[in-house]
């Protein structure tokens, strides 16, 4: 089905919503308005049915069977890898590693690449707007290697402080770990500039695409990032499946992360040789069905068109931002020039959990809290924010209901 109508950015949301069975329900007597897509996205029937079909018709283990089912499962699994490769614009399927999610992808790089390439007194540049998954693995690595994690600060408007980035980037920098889209602020850091500068000093760049990949087109080859991580569940696919993209030249020189079946070529007690890429990094039976479901989700988005999605969500964000600014005492947290899909805010005298509870009572699902990005909260002297995060099925009506519900909540809290 083609959900993209012209002009650019006018998605046929009625047709899209019809694909998402979960949206068609009442919460506390109100139609569900789902605005927590930053935490996770809902799944279209196409993905749900593909998972069911796989288990009902084609399921077996991959890469090892002589029988038909194993061949079918292997074919679906490897086709999924090709779909991911095309979706993110990688040069080769050898550069696409299936993981459990963004967190495991980052941990894989920290352990495997980090163990080999990081030494005492080296530096890891990490932005202050990262979520914990892109901070803690680097802290643990730095501790082990007596290296240093150097933060890149955030400006008052939520943009990355690029002057500080250039100042802190040096010949000591081995890797820059940076989000493509901040989950707490909505900021889109200037990746082109960051990657170019990092490469000039000989550092590699890991881009955390967990938040961004469902909201804008990505091309890792054009971007020239060295690593790119994302999760299936934030891109309308299943949970428990994720991707690590890495340049082949880097992967070839990286030691295995986990070990076991599938990642080996030959095993004996005198020595073991490892399998070719990407299998060297995929120990054990992978999330076969999850990989297929992820590919179906990516195809679903490709059919709508990532540029259409970006425009649709930009329209909604702009509308929501205007609505938010009408509320007395509301302060938007994160108003960088380049941002997408996320509206984080606080309201004077209102605790975010009260707002979240009263919105839930009216059928509106948002996130409140620190968004697993405590350094961002510390930067802005906040404990928590309320966050509206947009997806392909959201509409102007959703935003209207959300703000009507916010006003109702504020009446009660006054």
């Amino acid at each position: 089905m083609n959900h993209a109508a012209t002009p650019l950015g006018m998605l046929d949301t009625a047709a899209i919503r019809a694909d998402f069975p979960i949206l068609n329900q009442q919460i506390n007597g109100h139609p569900l308005v789902y605005l927590d897509n930053g935490a996770t996205t809902q799944k279209p029937a196409q993905v749900i049915e593909a998972l069911e079909h796989f288990y009902k018709v084609d399921y077996s283990n991959v890469h090892r069977g002589i029988h038909t089912l194993s061949q079918r499962a292997t074919e679906r699994f490897e086709n999924a890898r090709q779909t991911v490769r095309h979706f993110i614009g990688a040069d080769s399927e050898k550069e696409i590693i299936f993981t459990r999610g963004t967190t495991e992808s980052i941990n894989l790089v920290a352990h495997s690449w980090g163990d080999k390439n990081l030494h005492a007194h080296d530096e890891i540049l990490v932005s202050e707007m990262e979520h914990h998954s892109n901070i803690v693995p680097w802290q643990i690595l730095a501790q082990k290697k007596q290296a240093r994690v150097v933060p890149i600060p955030i400006d008052d408007d939520g943009a990355l402080n690029m002057a500080a980035f250039h100042q802190r980037l040096s010949a000591k920098t081995r890797i820059v770990a940076i989000t493509e889209l901040s989950n707490a602020l909505g900021t889109l850091p200037p990746l082109d500039e960051i990657i170019l500068a990092a490469h000039k000093v000989g550092a590699v760049v890991l881009v955390d695409g967990a938040q961004s990949v469902a909201h804008k087109a990505v091309n890792v080859a054009e971007l020239d990032c060295d690593f790119y991580a994302f999760s299936g569940h934030k891109v309308y696919g299943p949970s428990g499946i994720g991707i690590l993209y890495a340049k082949q030249t880097l992967l070839e020189h990286m030691p295995p992360y986990q070990s076991g079946g599938d990642m080996i070529s030959e095993v004996s007690f005198t020595g073991t040789t490892y399998n070719a890429l990407p299998y060297k990094f995929e120990a054990g039976t992978p999330n076969i069905v999850g990989a297929d479901g992820l590919a179906i989700a990516l195809n679903y988005l490709s059919n709508i068109g990532l540029n259409n999605i970006a425009q649709h969500e930009a329209n909604l964000l702009s509308y929501a931002t205007d609505k938010a600014l009408e509320i007395p005492g509301l302060h938007i947290v994160g108003s960088a020039k380049y941002k997408a899909g996320i509206l984080s805010f606080v309201i004077d005298g209102v605790h975010a959990t009260d707002l979240g509870t009263l919105l839930n009572q009216q059928g509106v699902a948002i996130r409140v809290g620190h968004h697993c990005a405590m350094p961002v909260m510390q930067r802005f002297n906040l404990v928590s924010t309320a966050r509206i995060s947009l997806g392909i099925y959201n509409t102007i009506e959703d935003i209207d209901i959300c703000f009507t519900s916010i006003n109702k909540a504020l009446e009660i809290l006054a």
Binding site: T353, G356, T357, Q362, G369, I412
Partner: protein, 141 residues
């Protein structure tokens, strides 16, 4: 009748008067606004209740009369209201009456269904502390 059980039953009946949950929340929030002053010196790490997304403190003291005096505060409005509700039921009661009554009235009001999705309001953590303190002070009543 056990005075704790009586207070619980009164509370359940009080909430049955409202059929709309938004109105119930309004009532809860109003109760919270009327909470007595909670001195800053009571806001210690020892008194802080964990398991809440908002900050919650309880100050529990056994009185010579063998009754538990409970004071509490939160920085969030709904949680403050829940505290007010718990104080109404449990503060000034004897530990054995508290233990005999049990905390089931919470689900009778419907809080389980309406508040448990967030699990952040800390209602269960607060109840746990009250019941633990009651058990601890059982001998002194």
């Amino acid at each position: 009748m056990n005075p704790v059980a009586q207070a619980q039953q009164d509370t359940v009946e009080e909430f049955q008067l409202f059929d709309d949950w938004m109105v119930r929340y309004e009532h809860i929030i109003d109760l919270g606004k009327a909470l007595p002053n909670f001195p800053v010196e009571w806001r210690t790490e020892v008194n802080r209740i964990r398991g809440c997304q908002s900050q919650v403190w309880f100050q529990i003291e056994m009185q010579d009369s063998g009754r538990m005096d409970i004071q509490g505060i939160s920085d969030a409005a709904i949680v403050s209201g829940l505290i007010a509700l718990l104080l109404r039921v449990y503060s000034g009661q004897k530990p054995n009456d508290i233990l005999d009554a049990g905390p089931e009235f919470i689900s009778d009001i419907g809080f389980d269904e309406h508040l448990s999705p967030t699990r952040s309001n800390g209602l269960h953590s607060m109840l746990k502390v009250i019941y633990e303190q009651a058990a601890l002070n059982l001998g002194s009543s």
